[in-house]
Point group: C2
Chain length 455, copies 2
Amino acid sequence: MKKWFILPGLFLLSIASFSQQEDSVFIRRLADEILLRGHAYEDLRVLTKQIGGRLAGSPQMVKAEQWGLQTLQALRPDRAWLQECTVPHWVRGGQDMATARTKTGQSKSLDVLALGNSRGSGPQGVSGDVIEVRSFDELKEKKDLVKDRIVFYNYRFRQELVKTFEAYGDAVRYRSSGASMAAQYGARGVIVRSMSESTDNIPHTGSLRYDSAYALIPAVAVGLQDADWLDATLATQGLSVTIKTNGHFLPDTIGHNVIAELKGTEFPDQYITIGGHLDSWDPAEGAHDDGTGVVQTIEVLRALRAMGYKPKRTIRFVLFANEENGLRGGTKYASEAQARGERHIFALESDEGGFTPRGFSLTGSEEQHGKLASWQPLLCPYGGCEMLRGGGGSDIGPLNRTQKTPTVGFSPDSQRYFDLHHARNDVFEAVNRRELELGAVNIAALVYLVDKYGF
Amino acid sequence: MKKWFILPGLFLLSIASFSQQEDSVFIRRLADEILLRGHAYEDLRVLTKQIGGRLAGSPQMVKAEQWGLQTLQALRPDRAWLQECTVPHWVRGGQDMATARTKTGQSKSLDVLALGNSRGSGPQGVSGDVIEVRSFDELKEKKDLVKDRIVFYNYRFRQELVKTFEAYGDAVRYRSSGASMAAQYGARGVIVRSMSESTDNIPHTGSLRYDSAYALIPAVAVGLQDADWLDATLATQGLSVTIKTNGHFLPDTIGHNVIAELKGTEFPDQYITIGGHLDSWDPAEGAHDDGTGVVQTIEVLRALRAMGYKPKRTIRFVLFANEENGLRGGTKYASEAQARGERHIFALESDEGGFTPRGFSLTGSEEQHGKLASWQPLLCPYGGCEMLRGGGGSDIGPLNRTQKTPTVGFSPDSQRYFDLHHARNDVFEAVNRRELELGAVNIAALVYLVDKYGF
């Protein structure tokens, strides 16, 4: 659970020093550039509407990489290039289906989506009586009843948690490990309540990891209304379900991180990385996950270039490959940095949606926390008030693990994110132009401060 | 422009005292009650979907009052009643239309909505060549060209203002005074760029005030894409427009504030008021304006009752009448309070939408600002971090004017509000359940603190 390290209290610091006034003026100019002449929203329209979902290995991945490179090159950075990496190539393979039949003969089609990386059921599908569990503990208690059954994990988001990422972090084990946990007791398939607290019935996919010691059984996420229907029906009578899915892996293929660089004028050997990930799940347009992070990254470069900014340190703008089901892009970026002896002093990722800014979360030293805290009065007028401990992003995690680079996650408001995360409603229309742009303002401002003062 | 009085800075206060720990525990229980067992979202569904738009004087106003009274009574307050007031009764009277014709013969139907309180054009409509102005200054400069024309006010929201209410406050004079300003120079009608910064073409209504010294000419708001089309077309050629509207006033009628009360156990003569307004513009469901304020007000009562809370002071829960085009409800409430010698120590309104909470804005003394600031660490974990100067709400303004009651406005995030304010897309589906509930949590927590400690 992330903890505050700056719980906004009384304003006891005044922006008094000359340098903070100078910074305040520069950040206001950055904000004007982005809010009055921003391109992020139109970039997002192209990425989501003309390219669409872009899972690793898909034709859309290739298109997105080409678009990313051209878009970055058009901003005339000092360098822009593709960094090759091997990526997994999972395909859904067709329409996912699940049909429930009650003992009284009622039949109901469920709105389901196969989990990413899951293996298909084969053309006949898998069928079995449903056994519902609300936790892994309950699964263990009922393990003797699981054989040849379909296990229905009906674990709910904890609604009392204010930050929805905490509820996601609490619940996601049922999606990632539920299939193998059930397979070890002989289950034929699993249905997982979607990782969401929405009020609709849209299913949410996302990756699972099989434990290769057990059968690789089919696994689907089910919409919340259907999950509630399963729960209510099972309270009074038995149910059987047939699941048909077609997921499988094709051979690994080639993907790329897309990178642009502004060379540092004073400390070119100190690297600052900001980024988002270019891949997205297939059923949607990948707007909030993570189209917004991608276009904010591009927008920060655009705004700095438009202002003629010459950084002291080298700033990298990275559109990472394959965050969703492999992390091969982030891993490659860190290993190549290590191999080249690059010193990465700071990394920031925007991968929590393009919603209205709340602040940043940091994994770093006490001194670094203090530095970020001292900048809060400069960011807060643009919404970036809340500073949390323990943040970063999947793609920059490897930098932290290989060379202890402090990592920062951009933290927008989280309430709407799991309404559309990994689901077909994660589309361009769900993004608000100004919220997206204000996120870019906060990220640009923080990158400017890190570049100017170090970290 | 609202100024910070607490710009969240370093957290130098610790929640150390026993009473703050006790308060923290109580507020956590309040939050659990609202987030786990809340009714606000379902209440909003009934108000918006079963009743709908409910302008003063309309049949839906009467339905909404009855629903409000029954819903409050079901929560078993100490008292619940209707407080009668006279309300204006403006009706749209039919479909608003505007058609533009270029000099080259192109014809285009514009998406328009007559401004509230405006008088209709008569069945023939009004026609004239269009003259575009971007400000009242430009109107004055061009005053000799205005006679028999249609004036098109094309003033844009200032995008660089982070808080959209500031942009609205800056622009709204063209909606409220534009018609009479143009009529004084002989204009036949006005078209006003909608008070919005959305990316769609939906027009936004809202009230105007005629200066009775001049002709009461028709006035419509136009969607932003159509506004941009008018602007682009006028740059190259002349345009004429025909406007047909049907607005008129019926005789004043009877409306009601709907009020519930919990009687204070220690200081029953000290009154705390919280509320929202029950009326809404006719083209939409009035979800964010102000269905959410209404159901949050009801939810605070529900949560306090569910917890068996006995207030020290008398708390009033008020669903105000006629905020949109008369303020008769708020005026009546304050004048009756004055006539009865009631001492109102605090008033809070939720009328800035049901979006994710940001904080509160206060109009009060320095001592009161200090008190609110001291509670910030208790509210911030639920999103209520930002404390601004100069807030309140239209309906509680009269209390401040008659007896200097400090007034507080609940301040949710403002980025999406003017995408749907007074427009047909202000519907139930635009409200997020958790954002709505978190607003209720913050309001309930603040009411609890004011009740316990006074203000």
